[in-house]
């Protein structure tokens, strides 16, 4: 049965946390834990969600949760899963919530190892497109043109000069059991992917876009709208990888205006028309490849 606002379990497992108002990451963690239930064991590396969740003596997780080393989210998940299995437990989910830096830069080796071993874990990357917890530094998942404190916008170089690392397809290239992309803007899609992943035996990777109003330079009330717009304008896609096949869940006939999406955000304010043209062209090129080789079901 599909998960909607009506039948989402009422229990709150991530409550009273100290995330900024309008935080997309905490929205992803809160709702994913509601789907997974009280037997989910959450592993969180250094990052926003561990910084806002564990403030002794306040513990905002009502399920079991533990902080891992920055690089070791996936290896700690392996240990948690093996330990609980050794104790004879079967009804649990070992779930990791790592940010984009903790996934694509610092934790990629441990994640790659866990996928290679085929460990029965669920790894959720909440992607806010920079190291937001430490004050907005560029990560491997920061998109082209975005201004961060380590990629400032000047006269010669306007923000990040490198494109976003393609983490979803990197996970898929391991021939992972299940991988998916999502956004907190389309919550039903995200939560149904979490539920589907929790029932699959093997390594699961879900990459969810979670806007950060502080780092993106948008009003705190716009988190959900901007998380929808990134998909509507084609700069992000909702897709799944399973049994060696890529499936596109949503194939919009028309994209909304890329420059409208970019200009809403403080981190892209400095971009010139030529930069935006470059971003639009790379979007079109990406979608041409997607439509040529992936299966479309939406």
């Amino acid at each position: 049965m599909s998960i909607t606002a009506k039948n989402l379990p009422k229990e709150e497992y991530f409550y009273g946390h100290k995330a900024c108002a309008g935080c997309g990451g905490s929205l992803a963690v809160r709702n994913a834990l509601k789907v997974l239930g009280k037997n989910a064991v959450a592993v969180l590396p250094a990052g926003c969600m561990s910084a806002v969740g564990f403030n002794f003596p306040q513990l905002c997780f009502s399920n079991n949760a533990i902080i891992s080393t920055f690089a070791g989210t996936a290896s700690m998940l392996t240990g948690v899963e093996a330990g609980l299995r050794a104790k004879g437990l079967t009804d649990f989910t070992a779930v990791g919530f790592a940010g984009d830096g903790g996934t694509a830069d610092i934790g990629i080796q441990a994640l790659s190892g866990a996928i290679d071993r085929g460990d029965n874990i669920l790894y959720i990357c909440y992607d806010n497109e920079a190291y937001m917890n430490t004050g907005i530094q560029k990560s491997g998942l920061t998109p082209f043109g975005a201004k961060t404190t380590t990629t400032p916008a000047g006269q010669n170089i306007r923000g990040n000069i490198r494109p976003k690392k393609n983490m979803f397809e990197i996970a898929a290239a391991h021939d992972i059991t299940y991988a998916a992309t999502a956004t907190v803007g389309y919550m039903t899609d995200f939560l149904n992917k979490v539920e589907k992943a929790s029932k699959i035996q093997g390594t699961k990777y879900i990459h969810v876009i979670a806007p950060c109003p502080t780092g993106w330079g948008v009003p705190v009330s716009d988190t959900v709208e901007i998380a929808r717009e990134i998909v509507d304008c084609g700069l992000w896609y909702l897709a799944e990888y399973e049994n060696g096949k890529f499936t596109l869940n949503r194939d919009p006939e028309h994209f909304t205006d890329v420059s409208a999406y970019l200009k809403k955000q403080g981190r892209f304010k400095h971009l010139t028309d030529a930069d935006i043209k470059l971003i639009t062209e790379s979007r079109d090129e990406k979608w041409r490849r997607i439509r040529n080789s992936w299966v479309c079901d939406g």
Binding site: A5, Y15, G16, A21, L59, C60, S62, V184, P219, T223
Partner: protein
């Protein structure tokens, strides 16, 4: 079904756990002081669709008798609920 707020008390060395483990769902402080504006539900307009509850990053909205209810102890006043509310049943008002 939320964790409850506990009475804040001083921790002595004897109370601090020997390992780094601590009790889950243990809340001692509220977040309400973060707010400059607060959402107010108009029960007559609320149709109980639950979108505010679905998209609240803090989980402070719940549905009671088919209407939205807000836990002001933990609401940070981001205004996502008011923005998503199709029947305009949630309004942001200045915090006094």
């Amino acid at each position: 079904m939320k964790p409850y707020l506990r009475e804040k008390r001083q921790f002595g060395f004897d109370d601090i756990p020997e390992s780094t483990a601590f009790e889950a769902g243990y809340l001692v402080s509220v977040n309400s002081g973060w707010r400059s504006i607060r959402p107010v539900v108009n029960a007559q307009k609320c149709v109980g669709c639950g979108q505010c509850y679905f998209y609240c990053p803090d989980g402070v909205l719940s549905m009671e008798n088919g209407k939205a209810k807000i836990d002001y102890d933990f609401c940070k006043g981001c205004g996502i609920c008011a923005k998503l509310c199709k029947p305009n049943a949630i309004r942001m008002e200045a915090e006094r």
